[in-house]
């Protein structure tokens, strides 16, 4: 069981996809103009990562080393398309908010990274847990960056969350201060980099305080 504990901890904090591995920067920057957008994008990515990791682990015996990368991409892209079509059909309101960004998941290197590093070598269940934890870690990072940018930029928090999660979640929608008082830069691209930088600094401070060695693992080669 300790193994699963490590996998979950890795995905959520120690080796967080955004804050430690610095992967998936494209959706991270593009989709975090509000906490709700970050949450939605994160959840869709988490679903794709869990299912693609599961499939890749299950089929890993048939995938030869030489063609593994195209096969991984094929599997991830197929999962993305399945999510895209399913959401369009049965979660149409949500699709109108996120639809444009679902295909972007294919170009996110985090799912591919996990496929290569983890699912290609490990059994089905740990791979599934790894995909899910990495996905949830990604969701948490995106939601936090989104919340920072949204509060500063437009003075709201979780605006339109009921569109994403259903009308029962209307209580989450907060207005912190009046509209038109926000610092516009926060929702523009520079705000994304600033929020991301602050968050990275925070993580580092916490890690240093808790006496953890700063991971100096390999930096991702693809920056999509």
């Amino acid at each position: 069981m300790a193994k699963y504990g490590t996998i979950v901890r890795d995905g959520l904090w120690d080796n967080n996809g955004v804050l430690a591995q610095m992967l998936g920067m494209c959706p991270t920057m593009a989709m975090t103009t509000s906490a709700t957008n970050g949450l939605g994008m994160g959840l869709a990515t988490a679903f794709v990562m869990a299912t693609s990791n599961l499939l890749i682990a299950a089929l890993r015996g048939f995938i030869t080393r030489e063609v593994r990368i195209p096969v991984f991409i094929l599997i991830i892209a197929s999962m993305v398309t399945v999510v895209d079509l399913t959401m369009n059909a049965w979660m149409h309101d949500l699709y109108k908010v996120l639809g444009l960004f679902i295909p972007l998941i294919v170009s996110n290197c985090l799912p591919l990274g996990r496929a290569e590093v983890f699912a290609a070598k490990e059994p089905v269940l740990p791979s599934f847990v790894d995909g899910l934890s990495m996905g949830i870690g990604f969701t948490l990072a995106l939601t936090t960056i989104g919340a920072m940018r949204e509060i500063v930029g437009s003075g709201t928090l979780f605006a339109d969350a009921s569109l994403l999660l259903g009308s029962a979640f209307k209580f989450m929608e907060l207005r912190v201060f009046a509209a038109d008082k926000g610092v516009l830069m926060a929702v523009l691209p520079p705000g994304g980099f600033l929020a991301m930088g602050l968050l990275l600094a925070c993580k580092r401070i916490i890690d240093v305080r808790s006496g953890k060695a700063i991971p100096t693992g390999p930096v991702g080669h693809c920056v999509a």
Partner: protein, 199 residues
């Protein structure tokens, strides 16, 4: 060596085949539902630009296709009441700051605007996105206007000598929208006979 290479090809091909089948099945399974949703979306945006009291038909189903000035097809949805044409709605496109802005506009039989709504745009949040009716009522000011009122020269933003307010910090977006609407009105004027013809 040669045989090994073939194996990789076979592996890749069978994965492609397998997932191709999965995708085809998903598409087949969702196609009907998706087309229903698209009709609903269209219906919703049409209701916003043609008041429901104006027609007793279903404009979504009463659509004709005309050639626009740029050679592209324009699908026109027609509202009729008791066999008489009461309004038309079609999509117009303008150039905004962040790319193309798609608008739908509804006009009555005299060519007066019943309503305009932005369907899709990529304008800057907090600035240009005020063309969205959810963010600001700016777009509703076009209701009731036509090609003669205000005169053609006034169909510009104030900065260009026209009569429409730009919003603070964004001129390009309203300029694109005003130009698109003016274009839509000219399209109506040019094709009035075809548009109003009752079949």
């Amino acid at each position: 060596m040669k045989q090994r290479t073939i194996i990789h090809g076979v592996v890749l091909a069978s994965f492609c085949l397998g997932f191709g089948i999965l995708l085809a099945a998903t598409k087949d399974f969702t196609a009907e539902e998706i087309s229903l949703r698209q009709v609903e979306d269209l219906q919703n945006s049409l209701t916003q630009v043609i008041p429901p009291g104006l027609h007793d038909n279903s404009p979504v189903k009463d659509a004709i296709t005309l050639k626009g000035d740029d050679g592209k097809d324009v699908v026109v949805y027609r509202a009729t009441k008791a066999g008489k044409l009461t309004g038309v709605a079609y999509e117009v496109r303008g150039q905004g700051y962040g790319g193309e802005i798609r608008l739908i506009m509804g006009l009555d039989a005299d060519g007066k605007i019943l309503g305009v709504r932005a369907l899709q745009h990529k304008e800057t949040p907090g600035l240009g996105d005020k063309i969205d009716v959810a963010k600001s009522d700016w777009i509703t000011r076009f209701t009731g206007l036509g090609l003669g009122s205000p005169p053609k020269d006034a169909w510009r933003v104030k900065k260009d000598g026209g009569q429409f307010d730009q919003f603070s910090g964004a001129t390009i977006t309203p300029r694109g929208v005003v130009a698109a609407i003016r274009g839509g009105l000219e399209f109506f004027a040019a094709h009035k006979a075809e548009l109003l013809e009752v079949r």
